[in-house]
């Protein structure tokens, strides 16, 4: 008899509990963090993004809310075919519900398509391609932290407004560099600045001396670095050897992260101007979160990409909770409907084209004498308000946006 009672109670509990989790596929919300764990973007994204995703799950209180959430991670090695086959396997065989982060635009664009075909969800934080909310926009993708448009326009207009009105461009000679230069130049001219000259350097380049001498001779107040990764780092290092910043010119990095500044050191990076969506020393909330993050990440402070992963996963879980479902397309629609609110990015929204909207900030790297301790790197030069930080909805050519 007792067995029968127990069996009855168990069945009843299951039946009662079931509606709450009925729509969660196989009872678990599975989050896959897919990024570069060992290559050039490992410091910007990498294991830090996995930690950020785990912190979001804990802060959401998934355990208390009777929601089972699991975080897994993999290294896409910056190869689109590796990324695409991991994504397919995650969706098909391992029941992953959402993929987050994914730096390297070719990999992100490939997964954007796979996610759409499989009807799952994709939260981009690491990739910069503004096409993700433009021509390639998808009802299954949200682009969270930043994009090339925001960096080019933010840096361009905010610098001109704060006095840097003459520019010289140092551009990597391929499609990405050209696009960055073109976007920034437009904004500089529109804001009333002047472009005194530009020079194209091969991709990749290790010796920037002749290009930097041209930039120095141009006497432009701002030298815009329309390149990325190792090229930017090399250009900044060599500019410091030529004494360009001490000579009164400033470098503007169009795609530079705090981990790059950390690697360069303040001695070399001082005076560099850059745009970020997040800085750990913004306010009490970001400081306390960053402190917790650093404890788990060998004292490294979070980059904006890692902060973006936290914020995106938190908002995703809130939408899953409200919807009581982890169906990719429905959750993304819900995420666009709900206003976003978290301790790192404050209040924000997600637009119809999948673009997350929040303010961007123009920072200048401190002199070694101004810095009070490790990771105290930036001083705020300007805030770009949320409504101006990202490409206007009607200019992106996103098919999801009704004309």
């Amino acid at each position: 008899m007792p067995t029968l009672v127990i069996a009855f109670v168990t069945v009843a509990t299951l039946a009662l509990a079931a509606p709450a989790r009925a729509q969660i596929s196989d009872g678990v919300v599975k989050i896959g963090v897919l990024n570069d764990q060992s290559g050039p973007y490992a410091d910007i994204t990498g294991p830090g993004s996995v930690t950020a995703a785990r912190m979001a799950v804990e802060d959401f209180g998934a355990a208390k809310k009777n929601l089972k959430v699991e975080v897994i991670a993999a290294d896409h090695q910056n190869k689109p075919d590796v990324g695409s086959s991991i994504a397919r396997q995650w969706f098909d065989a391992e029941k992953v519900d959402v993929i987050v982060d994914v730096p390297t635009s070719s990999v992100a664009l490939a997964i954007n398509q796979v996610t759409r075909d499989k009807g799952k969800a994709f939260l981009v934080s690491g990739a910069a391609a503004s096409d993700l909310t433009g021509k390639a926009c998808s009802p299954n993708t949200i682009h969270w932290t930043y994009d090339t448009w925001a960096l080019a326009h933010g840096t361009g207009s905010a610098i001109v407004k704060t006095g840097g009105d003459t520019w010289f461009f140092l551009t990597a000679d391929y499609a990405f560099g050209h696009a960055l230069e073109r976007d920034t130049e437009q904004v500089v001219l529109k804001a009333g600045g002047k472009v005194l000259g530009k020079v194209r350097h091969p991709f990749p380049t290790s010796d920037f001396s002749s290009f930097l001498l041209q930039a120095q001779a141009s006497k432009a107040k701002i030298i815009g670095l329309a390149n990325a990764g190792a090229d930017t780092i090399n250009a900044i290092k060599q500019a410091s050897e030529f004494g360009i910043v001490r000579g009164g010119q400033n470098l503007a990095g169009l795609l530079v992260f705090i981990s790059d500044v950390h690697a360069l050191g303040l001695e070399k990076a001082q005076g560099l101007i850059l745009t970020e969506a997040f800085y750990w020393d913004q306010n009490d909330a970001t400081r306390s979160w960053a402190k917790k993050f650093a404890e788990r990440q060998r004292n490294a402070m979070p980059t904006m990409v890692q902060a973006g992963v936290y914020s995106a996963v938190l908002h995703y879980l809130k939408a899953v909770e409200q919807l009581k479902s982890d169906d990719g397309t429905k959750v993304i629609a819900k995420m666009k409907e709900m206003p976003t609110d978290d301790s790192l990015f404050g209040k924000g929204t997600v637009r119809a084209d999948g673009r997350k909207i929040h303010p961007m900030y123009l920072y200048e790297v401190k002199k070694p004498s101004e810095s009070k301790g490790p990771w105290d790197y930036y001083k705020l030069r300007a805030t770009i308000p949320a409504d101006q930080a990202f490409r206007p909805l009607n200019e992106g050519e996103c098919p999801l946006v009704k004309k």
Partner: protein, 326 residues
């Protein structure tokens, strides 16, 4: 390439009929393995990638293993065919079979141009010249408008094969890829075991002597080079359709290096070696992805072990143990 010299198995010692019999058994085992694998829980998309790279490694092996030419620029053929097939399928709306064929033809044409110039040199100079050409193709792909630069060509439609077979489903796509791989493999096998293949081996062993017997080594080398480029192109075009993308990874020099490692690990100059090598490398790349930063270290250790302990490669060592060429 010290391992290359020891990797050759002396085919002359074994009667031809015997060679065919146990290599035929090997072929059936291999075909059976790939046909059964998806039903035993091996993920088909992963297998398709392995098959594309296996064909690529086999094509590469034709040059290194049977003509003794180490090409360090084979990514140029894989990648350019991928771009051509992706562009044809996406922009011109070609059917998948036509897109793959177009990609293969582009690789063939590129093979004629690069081959005609490269085969004039040998040894390390040959490797350097092929690398230089491959880098030219790479920089062209970075700059050209239609390749999409860093972003690559994305969301290429898979389409329907001959207007009947819907390739958007995973399994039909898998059978097509398997058929293409087996076709390429049989073509290579026939080439290696034909009189033409015998001349190639003669050139590999002693070029002046082959010349003194009345053969023109340049012609043979060029034909072998173009064949190898064409089949690499077949692999590249198929890969572009499977993954629905073409990107810079496939034209970058690391891919040229990867195929050398596949052949080396499996066994240079063996028929089945490159297939095994490709399977091992792709499996490492795929399953160790979960290990994150450890991936490159584990890959490195495996290579060091391979070079130190079995220089003939996996299949080469196996062939030595059973005393039969594989």
């Amino acid at each position: 390439m010290a391992g290359a010299a020891t990797g050759y198995v002396a085919t002359a010692e074994v009667p031809a009929a015997q060679v065919l019999r146990h290599q035929a058994i090997g072929f059936v085992v291999m075909a059976g393995f790939f046909a059964a694998a998806p039903f035993f829980g091996v993920y088909p998309v992963f297998l398709m990638k392995a098959l594309c790279f296996a064909l690529f490694a086999c094509a590469f092996n034709l040059l290194i293993g049977y003509v003794g030419l180490l090409s360090f620029g084979h990514a140029a053929f894989l990648g350019s065919s991928g771009y051509a097939a992706a562009h044809a399928a996406k922009i011109w709306g070609f059917a998948p079979e036509a897109a793959i064929l177009f990609g293969t033809m582009v690789a063939c044409a590129l093979g004629i141009v690069i081959g005609a110039l490269a085969i004039r040199s040998r040894g390390i100079y040959f490797a350097n010249i092929t690398l230089a050409f491959a880098q030219m193709v790479y920089f062209f792909s970075v700059q050209a408008k239609f390749t999409g630069g860093e972003d690559g060509i994305q969301s290429v439609p898979r389409g329907t094969l001959f207007g009947v077979l819907d390739l958007r489903q995973t399994m039909p796509m898998y059978w097509v890829v398997l058929a293409i791989f087996l076709l390429g493999f049989v073509v290579l096998y026939r080439v290696i075991h034909s009189p033409f293949g015998q001349v190639l081996k003669a050139i590999r062993e002693n070029e002046p002597r082959a010349m003194s017997l009345g053969y023109a080594p340049e012609h043979y080398k060029l034909i072998a080079f173009v064949l190898s480029a064409t089949l690499s192109g077949l692999a590249g075009g198929t890969k572009a359709i499977v993954f629905q993308l073409a990107s810079l990874t496939d034209v970058y020099w690391t891919t040229s290096g990867e195929v050398v490692l596949m052949a080396l690990l499996g066994g240079i100059g063996t028929v089945f070696g490159p297939v095994v090598g490709a399977l091992v490398i792709i499996t490492l790349e795929h399953f160790l992805a979960q290990l994150g930063a450890w991936l490159t270290i584990v890959q490195g250790i495996i290579f060091v072990i391979c070079v130190l302990t079995f220089r003939r490669g996996i299949v080469g060592e196996l062939a030595r143990i059973i005393r039969k060429p594989l």
